[in-house]
Symmetry: C2
Subunit: 356 residues, 2 copies
């Protein structure tokens, strides 16, 4: 039997180390899609400084491709598609559109190694019949201009988005378990990374969301690192109550987060003066993962009548910041002449004239 | 009887036109304190483009001074002290400290031509026995590097902060009324400006606050003009409910704002793509009038148990933005080694080590 063929999409801090973990294991053929920095990586490879894999220079996986289409043409079809890009459904390209060129067979397994809630829904709707798996990464890794700084071990929790009770869908469930097991077997490098089957990966996902939807969102809004927010009393004013809101939303969909997680997160960055990725995105005028990290949880809360007094104010504010970033990126240019009547009509006018 | 002697403190858009209104009237001697741009104004005067006074070049009032102390020494004592500066009690200098060098007699009348709520309290506490009057300006005027652009007529509402019932304190009340009348007589230029006795100036002040505490605060937080916020649905998501909160806080101190004012303000800037002064301050990395515009109303709300679900989230967020601006202005430099233990202790550590 030939080795599984794996496509890794997204060559940032997470994607590059995922490709390294797969390559290091040796159990698969690895193709990495590198978009903006293709020429750089193709010529010089990655330079990597990893807390577990050590210092590597000129590192490349088996195959590089400029686009998902090119990857499919040259190196496909794939058994596994590992998606590690940012997830910005309100951006120019949705994740389904990114993945689509690689989905040609009926049996590609799509693994979303991404943040956020309800990210599987549009993927399953677009590719019915495909197995879509939930990966939650606890890696610490950043990419800049060919260099990967990997300070926290590559740790992946992998499971079903919606694990079926044993009595139902026994066949597909069994197949999901086999695929999870196979992927772990080609990804795991004992001592270098961690990857485990997570029977309750939704809980893991919601718990990670408790950090992202609070710390990422607030730091992006006020342009301060976490400790500077805490100097201003944010722990009690905003952080603890906002995390309690996420916990309540999770509970409304049957997920009970660990009680201790709030205090763990409140203190996880003590003394580090760390700026989360969404804050960094805002500073770089890059689109934020606002909808999957905050918008989708807020929509679940509304559906289940869960009060969100803090997150419900943060969300419209952050949407406006995203709007500003889109303007700065020239994704649209507002013509003021379109907005001269009642300001109550402006959202409708924008929707009609400025959405592609 | 000699003409009243008037000191105008603050030479921005409001202060420059106030000095012009007084000078044009001719009924007083006008001294203007010009701090940062003294050399420029002393040499070349103001260039003014006013919707009512027309185009003026090389304009100066009778006297200029570099500081309140110099004004007092050269041109004092004063009958009226008109304070037109920004009011930033959490900044390097409070308004009481600014005014203090000019208060040497017992009979100076202090007029606060400034935004915000409860601004008279520290002033009255610092200068007991002095008449402190409330001025609310509806002018449209901006100052930049010697030039004043005065697009909206200088309109002033003047009254007692706490008008006494007729039966009480008849003498001081009568004296306040006489001073208000006198100041109006030396300020009013029919056709060029408007100034009127306002028996209910607290209502006028709260109504102006409804704009400032909502539009100023939100635009400063998301760095967008008003119409761009409205394109994003802010009218219903945030603006109307936040203004209703201010209305409820005013009601808790016996001030009933006009119902129609919410819709007036929602539509006052339709089509103008206007950025309020606090947003401009934030962009220029200048301190914002956060405490008098939002902090004091929030404190009144807490005292009177008025719920402020939106403003109560905006306030801690905006405090963090103010903290960022203070850092950018080098008002303090955080030494990260001071903040290494539990983040719950950071506010206390900051209070102890970084407050002057």
């Amino acid at each position: 039997m030939s080795k599984p063929n794996v496509l890794v999409i997204g060559s940032g801090g997470v994607g590059a180390i995922s490709a390294l973990s797969l390559s290091h294991n040796g159990g698969s053929t690895v193709t990495l899609v590198v978009r903006s920095d293709y020429d750089l990586i193709n010529e010089k490879g990655f330079s990597i400084n990893s807390c577990t894999y050590g210092k590597l220079t000129n590192w490349k996986p088996h195959n590089l491709a400029r686009s998902v289409s090119e990857a499919r043409e040259k190196y496909g079809p794939f058994d596994y598609i590992l998606l590690t890009t940012k997830n910005v459904p309100d951006g120019p390209t949705t994740c389904e559109e990114i993945v689509a060129p690689a989905v040609t067979e009926q049996n590609e397994v799509i693994i979303l190694l991404q943040n956020g809630i309800d990210i599987e829904k549009p993927m399953i709707a677009k590719f019915p019949g495909h197995l879509v798996l939930s990966g939650v990464s606890h890696i610490g890794s950043t990419y800049y201009h060919g260099h990967v700084e990997n300070k926290g071990i590559d740790a992946v929790f992998l499971g079903d988005f919606n694990p079926k009770p044993a009595c139902q869908h026994r066949a597909s469930s069994a197949s999901a378990a086999a695929k999870i097991e196979e992927f772990i077997s080609i990804y795991h490098n004992p001592g270098f990374n961690r990857i485990q089957v997570d029977a309750n990966v939704q809980k893991t996902r919601w718990e990670k969301l408790m950090y992202n939807s609070v710390f990422n969102v607030m730091t992006a809004l006020v342009d301060l690192d976490v400790n500077s927010m805490q100097i201003n009393g944010a722990n009690d004013d905003l952080i603890r109550p906002a995390m309690a809101e996420i916990m309540a939303i999770a509970r409304s969909v049957g997920v009970e987060c660990d009680q201790g997680i709030v205090e763990k997160f409140v203190h996880i960055g003590d003394g580090l003066f760390y700026s989360p990725s969404m804050c960094v995105d805002m500073r770089k005028k890059q689109l934020m993962e606002l909808e999957v990290i905050l918008g989708n949880p807020i929509r679940i809360a509304r559906e289940h009548s869960v009060p969100t007094p803090i997150l419900g104010v943060l969300y419209p504010l952050l949407k406006m910041v995203q709007f500003r970033i889109k303007q700065e990126k020239k994704m649209f240019v507002i013509d003021q002449r379109d907005f001269q009547g009642s300001s109550d009509d402006y959202p409708r006018i924008f929707e009609e004239k400025y959405r592609h």
